[in-house]
């Protein structure tokens, strides 16, 4: 599989590839990002500074990166997938080591002006690596224990490292992203049942471990879980964020208070109003109509990706696209669930809308891979 095969695979070259880009998907991403710019402008009190403008610049840069990645043949990405995984894993270890050596937890590596978060990279690398693994594996063997243990290790290694940081949100996303690729690859449902069972056991163990010497998660994570379970018990303390977020959401009503009229965000009742809790401002200012519209846009992104995956006869491309779609779904679902009080506050930003460069670039790079799979997919039975 040399790169010279590229032209014969998709049958397209140069300008033709640009036409083959999944433009509907690009349009959806632009719509979501634009909603983000509006909200960042609003929470800054009607100012492009300090959030909206940098976010736009990053988004445009991200779009360029996405298209560039999309132009490159999918086989290249399959080839580099194991490498990407390895590099990400090494960086994760490095970050953990730095955290031990330096002061406190650190999640990023400074590369000049860019702050690289290995855990963000790992989200894509894991999906790529698993997709590449299953693309090579004989489908008849996918459910054999030996061939299940290997991908399981691929998933659990970074999960353990991320938990070490500690970053519960990313750990969940890695687990679910990796799990969904295995699921799509056709691993027997019994394994998933067993995983759920052991997961439930683990959660029980974690809860039980509180206050003991072998406590499995940090105290602040425990607090988050308990305040999630009963935010009203301490409305001014740890439950304050959830309570205020729900007030912002609920006070929006059907059509909202109007652009820039959200009092909860403007008066700083909302925590992290430009990052993790930006959805509450959107809900406050645009109401149920606004939140539903955003939800529909996100769902469409997922549906477009899955549609592309299903029609893709290249197993690597299909599995990767599906895995990325699932990860993307989890991103916004976890964030929304979090601010609506359905999940503990785990620190997951709202994709494309929350302020944040690293997450945005990584996400658009992932969609670049989706584009690559889409553009270079072997179509139909021609």
């Amino acid at each position: 599989m040399s790169l010279a095969d590229t032209s014969s695979r998709g049958g397209r070259r140069g300008f033709g590839k640009l036409l083959a880009v999944n433009w509907s998907l690009v349009l959806l991403l632009c719509a979501l990002a634009s909603a983000g710019f509006l909200m960042l402008y609003s929470v800054a009190g009607g100012s492009a500074e300090p959030w909206a403008e940098p976010q736009m610049v990053r988004f445009v840069a991200g779009l360029v990166i996405m298209l560039a990645i999309g132009m490159i043949d999918i086989r290249f990405w399959r080839l580099v997938a194991p490498l990407a995984y390895l590099v990400s894993l090494v960086l994760l270890v490095a970050v953990d080591a730095m955290g031990v050596i330096g002061m406190g937890a650190q999640r990023w590596i400074a590369l000049g002006p860019i702050q690289l978060q290995p855990s963000e990279m790992m989200k894509i690398a894991l999906v790529m690596a698993l997709a590449a693994y299953y693309a090579r594996l004989d489908p008849a063997k996918v459910s054999r224990p030996f061939w299940v243990i290997l991908p399981l290790l691929l998933i659990l290694m970074p999960v353990a490292l991320v938990m070490e940081q500690p970053d519960l949100g990313t750990a969940i996303l890695l687990l679910a992203g990796g799990g969904s690729v295995m699921f799509l690859a056709g691993v027997s449902l019994w394994y998933f049942a067993a995983a759920f069972a052991s997961g439930a056991g683990l959660v029980t163990a974690v809860i039980k471990s509180q206050g003991t010497d072998w406590q499995l998660i940090e105290d602040y994570q425990f607090r988050r879980i308990f305040t999630f379970l009963d935010p009203d018990a301490d409305p001014l303390g740890a439950g304050y964020h959830i309570t205020q977020a729900k007030i912002a959401l609920g006070s929006g009503g059907l059509t909202g208070k109007g652009f820039m009229q959200g009092t909860q965000a403007r008066l700083n009742f909302l925590p992290e109003k430009h990052t993790d809790f930006i959805f509450t401002t959107l809900a406050e200012e645009f109401g149920y109509v606004g939140t539903t519209a955003i939800l529909v846009l996100y769902a469409l992104v997922v549906v477009f990706c899955v549609a592309s995956a299903v029609s893709n006869r290249d197993r690597f491309g299909a599995l990767m696209t599906g895995g990325i779609a699932m990860s993307f779904f989890l991103l916004f679902a976890v964030n929304m669930g979090m601010v609506m009080g359905l999940m503990p506050v785990v620190g997951v930003p709202l994709p494309l809308i929350s302020y944040g460069g690293s997450a945005m670039l990584v996400l658009l790079a992932a969609f670049g891979l989706v584009q690559s799979a889409h553009i270079h997919r072997p179509r139909g039975r021609d």
Binding site: G186, G250, L267, T291, V310, G322, G337
Partner: protein, 643 residues
Amino acid sequence: MKGGAQPELPGIGRRAVLLLGLQAGLAGALAWRMRDLQIVQNERYRLLAEENRVNLRLIPPARGLITDRHGALLAGNRQNYRIVMVRERAKDPAAVLARLAEIVELPSDRQVRALKEMEGRSPFVPVVVAEHLSWDDVARVAANTPVLPGVDAEVGLSRFYPDGPSTAHVIGYVGPVSEADLAKLQDPDPLLQIPRFQIGKTGIEQRLEHELRGQAGAQRIEVSAAGRVMRELGRVEGTAGRDLELTLDLGLQSYAMQRMAGQSSAAAVIDVTNGDIVALASAPGFDPNSFVFGISSGEWNGLLGDDYRPLANKTVTGTYPPGSTFKVCMALAALEAGVVHPGDGVSCPGFTALGNRRFHCWKHGGHGRVDLRRSLSQSCDCYYYEMGRRLGPDRISAMAHKLGLGVAHDLPMPAVSAGNMPDAAWKKVNRKEAWTTGDSFNYGIGQGFTLASPLQLAVMVARVASGTAVKPRLIRAVGGEAVPFEAPAPLDIAPQHLHAVRDGMFAVSNEGTAYRSRIADPAMLMAGKTGTSQVRIITAAERAAGVTSNEQLPWKRRDHALFVCFAPYDKPRYALAQIVEHGGGGSAVAAPIARDILLYALCGGLPPLSAYPAEQRDAIEKARAVTPPAAEGAATTPARNRA
């Protein structure tokens, strides 16, 4: 991966659809939750958001003004310049405070307190650093703004008493509401929750607090989560307190204070035609403004330690044995009871024997035969021992009450004393003893159990002079509306008896004991009665050794000097009661002061010298030259201690 390999690859279709279904379910749950929060529970959360956002802040109303009968301001509100500091803008509050202390007076303990308060509050909350500053101070602070980051001048309203000490006892003062006040007052007014809100602590300020306070305004403000004020949403102005117009005449009041300066003294002047209290002066005064600003412990201890008791309201709260001034009441009681006629003579040998006790007349050797007129003008004690014996306590008490003694008059001041005008039953209850004739003798000369306040004595004279049941009043108008006035009913006393007593009082001032303190102007002739009430028992041993003169006694054991009077005699206008605590003889000490105050009231200012007896005019003219009449001589006297 060409050709034949492809069909073996299973599509991901089935699993993808399963996954999509799961996702659709989750997305549906999210949508459902959104609907629940945003549509179903919208109302609840909208209210919560509003509660978050909007704070109600009270605007203190302007306190009602208090003026005298001519509109002169007795209690007003003046701008209170204060300096506030915002910690977050000051950066280094201690350094800024030190710089501020170079510009305005700022004691180090005040600096420490301000620093502590700032640390205890959110960094953006202005904390009052200094209060009651002058405009000059504020101007200096404004000029130094660049080196005083976070320092601002603010202006609020604070109570102010322009003529402080003159009316301090009547008006009282305000002070910041205390925990004790909150516990005591069953007052739900939210204004009281404002820190440092000023409420009346004593005097009219306290008793008419409900009129003066007014109603709070409210300001709806939008606040941020941290409590920072973002903007004003709406404002409802409060209602200012109602203004009070008093019956007092500030000119007369100030003059009385000035005239009494250096004495522990009190004077009450009543308009006999309607009961208006035109002066109610208690000397020495104190400066109520000190209390508003927070009195220093030195000043406070000085006030408390002063034997002249500047804080006491001697006019209505202080009660004294009325002494011979009570003979006015005795004479009327005797005439009304029919136990004596004006012309009846009583013999005064200098004492009255009762069993083996002797009750002495003040005059050694006695007055000889005394009728009613002489009994008053010479203040014969024996005559009134006899009247006491003839009347018995109950009839004396009844007349006293009729004349306004032994009754707490309804005045808007705390601790208005009822005095004591006992009857037989009173002694039975309070002393567990039967009334004795000796008690009646003492009653007759206003000693023993009898107690009256200067105000009550003034009311007594006003009633005798007018023949009506004059009721004293202090408030002319509230909020611009005149307080309804009821013409006093005639007293149930025969006019000829009233005339006989008035005639006796005329004789006191123009022939008798108070002759030196008469008014010479025929249009303003005065009638009065002297009184010298003992605050000690003269023992038989003392009497044997010759009565110790007042000057030889320590101040606290000297007699009280009293004088009651009214003028003009033929058309009474003002009644006055005067007391000089431990001043000595009523005729020598109290009467001259009383005459001057009464003349001032009658003339509406300093009287012409022609009003005085010819032989006194030179001395009075000289005295006036020394003390310019414009000077307010009523300032707080320095602390004395004679203990």
